[in-house]
């Protein structure tokens, strides 16, 4: 398990608990009680994974939770019956 995984999970869970929160790195650091420099790579990695969405200006970007894609009612019963 990666060293920074626990912090990554902590960060993910913060956004899952507050799905409508839009926060800067500093704000996330304050909420988690962590140093901003420790969070920088973690948050970027979450953006890469598509879990967070980056917006706002480059100097002080805002991050918010991006919900997973929900595909409903994939109907392939008939195909299955034939197989």
């Amino acid at each position: 398990m990666k060293k920074e995984l626990s912090l990554q999970l902590e960060c993910t869970m913060l956004f899952q608990t507050n799905p409508y929160m839009s926060e800067t790195i500093t704000g996330i650091g304050t909420r988690l009680g962590r140093k901003t420099e420790d969070l920088q790579s973690i948050v970027e990695s979450l953006v890469q994974q598509g879990i967070l969405q980056k917006s706002g200006d480059e100097a002080s970007p805002l991050f918010r939770y991006k919900e997973p894609v929900v595909t409903t009612e994939l109907d392939f019963t008939k195909e299955l019956d034939r197989s």
Binding site: Q49, V69, V70, T72, E73, L74
Partner: protein
């Protein structure tokens, strides 16, 4: 140590010869700890005698003089003296330096007589005594000073041994506490038998590399690669046993060192067993000599053992800390899931956490209701355009093949996706019921990493299964279960009413879906239809916090009212009433003259010959839109005032004009004005269309 011992002997020898003495060092019990040096004839003869043996006398005398702290002259045999000086040696032990023997100035004749009397073994004691240094009151102090100086020098020798001892102990301590590089550097600097020392570690497969190196001119070896079985080092890797080779300058196996401009005369190599079963090597050698002293080899061996223990401890500490991290992460995940009653959020947690963990290309949960033939996926990441094929395969394998929550079935499995990717599939069970399958794509993982991920995902799957079950029970078990029970009870005493309820529920569901009403509202309309047989006040007892009793009450009232008076009624009651009116006559003629748009919608709905079968499933819960999230969208697009926005939000929640007036503390007339303006701005004729438009905008926006 050996160097110090030689120095000590040399010192004893020099002093002894120069002053005609015999010199030795004993421990507290009188045993010699250094060789007896010197040619003091009387002394040596007395050592050799059985009777009046000098060694015996020394041992005896130590009983009395053990506690001395300064040099003394001690008469071992009457008239015959030795000077004794106490020495402090490492480890807190005491030793004694013995120098002598001397004959007392006035006791010379007495000694000769005594010796002739007791030790008459053909020795001419007179001659011997003549050669023996004489101790007088005048020279006694001088002799004491002389021997004291010797004692001080001997003590320095012991101190040097002590320093050497301390260095070894320090080295081992460093090996445990500090970086490997520093330790081998210190060892090379202090032990001249080792011209270079290095450590080689496994890189990949059969390839090894020199990772640490110390010693003058040996830096070129850093990073040098070699393979299993290659040269001296490669052989140790194969045999797993330590090796020591002498005179190897021309040995072809030294080629590895020659390549890096190093030509060792002797080489040793110790294997270091690693926690993962692989081997690392500690090797070293002498460039100038063709052999390495045994003591230095032993030191290398000790260092290899210490390094092995150190690496093992580090690995165990790392593993322990990782286990603690995993455990604390799982505890946090459990807490989060336990505090999340929504199925949707639990699925999001499962998808996100597994993606966090594995950092693979995708993560998804495949869900399928047992009474439904449709599957649903909550996914993140890239599943390519073959996602549907893969989901079909997952459903086929897990839902069709009667998976049970046996220990084997619940274990995550490694599989291959149709597009050739690797995926870990983790079924989410709760007491034998399959609630979903968590599928996590993985990329380029070692066997060890894969094993760790599978273990973590297994635990995550167990927590996920239980959480999904709890959410299901909490969300559906209470209200839906009761609705189902009361609905089925109708069938026990009025089969026709039961059938009507069932059919109207189905019809209402389809019509409400066509209107674009949100899932929770549709669900309540269906429940109201299923329970239409009961009065609103009766249902109120079972569902005090639900709008179902109220839909039944108002809907039944609407049925009796002229169609023109429906405008202000709640959309739920309107759907309920219209469906039951239709069910009674099975004709749409009744609505032909209706002015309200909802009637026109219903007519066109009924006229449609193709009726799509649509199930209200978990997906609807998942897709339940958030009121707050679309407010801004509508506000911007329809240019609504804040008050109109408030009113619209309440219209969407199913409130009629009177209820909105009560909620916002304004008059019914004002509400009506707001509602009319909202309809104008949204360009819709009535409430149903307004709600439908809002959700259309919401979906278009999202």
């Amino acid at each position: 140590m050996r160097e110090n011992a030689e120095l000590l002997e040399e010192l004893q020898e020099t002093y002894a010869c120069h002053y005609d003495l015999t010199i030795m060092v004993t421990d507290e019990s009188g045993e010699a700890v250094t060789p007896i040096k010197g040619k003091n004839s009387l002394c040596n003869k007395l050592f050799a005698q059985k009777h009046e043996n000098l060694m015996g006398k020394i041992k005896e005398s130590l009983n009395d003089i053990r506690t001395i702290s300064s040099p003394i002259t001690h008469d071992l045999i009457p008239g015959i003296h030795m000077i004794v000086v106490p020495l402090e040696i490492p480890g807190g032990n005491k030793a004694f330096l013995w120098s002598g023997v001397f004959v007392e100035e006035n006791g010379r004749q007495f000694v000769i007589e005594k010796l002739n009397q007791h030790v008459n073994e053909g020795v001419s004691w007179e001659c011997v005594i003549d050669e023996t240094p004489v101790l007088t009151s005048g020279n006694k102090k001088e002799w004491l000073n002389l021997v004291s100086k010797l004692a001080k020098i001997i003590s320095l020798c012991f101190d040097r041994e002590k320093a050497s001892f301390d260095f070894n102990s320090f080295l081992l301590q460093q090996a445990v506490n500090n970086k490997t590089e520093g330790i081998i550097e210190k060892l090379v600097a202090h032990h001249h038998d080792h011209d270079f020392l290095g450590i080689a570690e496994k890189v990949d497969g059969e390839e090894y590399r020199v990772t640490h190196i110390a010693g003058e001119g040996a830096a070129s070896l850093r990073g040098a690669p070699f393979f299993l079985g290659e040269g001296f080092l490669g052989r140790v890797l194969i045999s797993g046993k330590a090796g020591y080779w002498e005179d190897i300058k021309r040995d072809p196996r030294s080629y590895f060192f020659h390549r890096f401009s190093l030509s060792p005369g002797a080489l040793f190599c110790y294997p270091i067993k690693r926690y993962d079963g692989s081997l690392s090597l500690l090797f070293g050698g002498s460039l100038s000599n063709g052999e390495i002293p045994k003591g230095s080899l032993d030191l290398g061996k000790a260092l290899a053992n210490v390094l092995e223990m150190k690496l093992l401890t580090e690995n165990l500490q790392k593993e322990n800390s990782e286990q603690l991290n995993r455990l604390s992460s799982l505890v946090e995940i459990c807490k989060l899931m336990a505090s999340t009653p929504e199925t949707k959020r639990i699925l999001y947690i499962l998808v996100d956490i597994s993606l966090n963990l594995v950092e693979g290309p995708f993560s998804c949960v495949v869900l399928k209701d047992k009474d439904d033939e449709k599957a649903q996926i909550v996914a993140r990441g890239d599943m390519t355009d073959q996602a549907k094929d893969y989901v079909k395969d997952v459903v086929n394998r897990y839902y069709r093949q009667s998976s049970k929550d046996t220990s084997d079935d619940s274990l995550p499995k490694e599989n291959v996706t149709p597009w050739g990717g690797t995926v870990i599939e983790c079924p989410l069970f709760n007491r034998g019921e399959l609630l979903g399958v968590l599928c996590v794509g993985v990329e380029q993982l070692s066997a060890q990493q894969l094993k760790e991920h599978i273990t973590f995902l297994h635990t995550l799957g167990i927590i996920g299964g239980i959480s999904l079950h709890l959410a299901k029970v909490e969300n559906e078990g209470t209200t839906s279960g009761q609705v189902e029970t009361l609905h089925k009870a109708i069938g026990q005493f009025d089969e026709e009413a039961y059938m009507t309820a069932r059919e109207s529920g189905k019809l209402a569901s389809e019509f409400a879906l066509k209107l674009g009403l949100p899932a929770p509202i549709i669900k309540d309309i269906i429940s109201a239809c299923q329970l239409h047989f009961y009065t609103g006040s009766f249902l109120e007892q079972f569902f005090p916090d639900s709008r179902v009793p109220w839909i039944v009450e108002e809907g039944k009232m609407l049925i009796g009212k002229p169609l023109q008076e429906w405008e202000e009624a709640n959309i739920c009651s309107q759907v309920f009433a219209i469906v039951f009116m239709y069910e009674r006559k099975r004709s749409i003629e009744l609505f032909e003259r209706g002015e309200a748009a909802i009637f026109q919608d219903f007519i066109s709905f009924i006229k449609e010959t193709h009726v799509m079968e649509q199930e209200i499933s978990l997906s609807d819960d998942l897709e339940e839109p958030e009121l707050t999230s679309f407010s801004d969208t509508i506000k911007e697009q329809a240019n609504l005032s804040p008050r109109e926005q408030e009113v619209l939000n309440l219209v969407i929640q199913g409130l009629n004009n009177r209820e909105i007036a009560e909620e916002l503390y304004i008059s019914g007339h004002t509400v009506k004005n707001h509602v009319t303006k909202i309809f104008q701005k949204l360009d819709v004729p009535d409430r149903a269309h307004a709600i439908s438009k809002v959700y259309q905008l919401k979906y278009a926006h999202s």
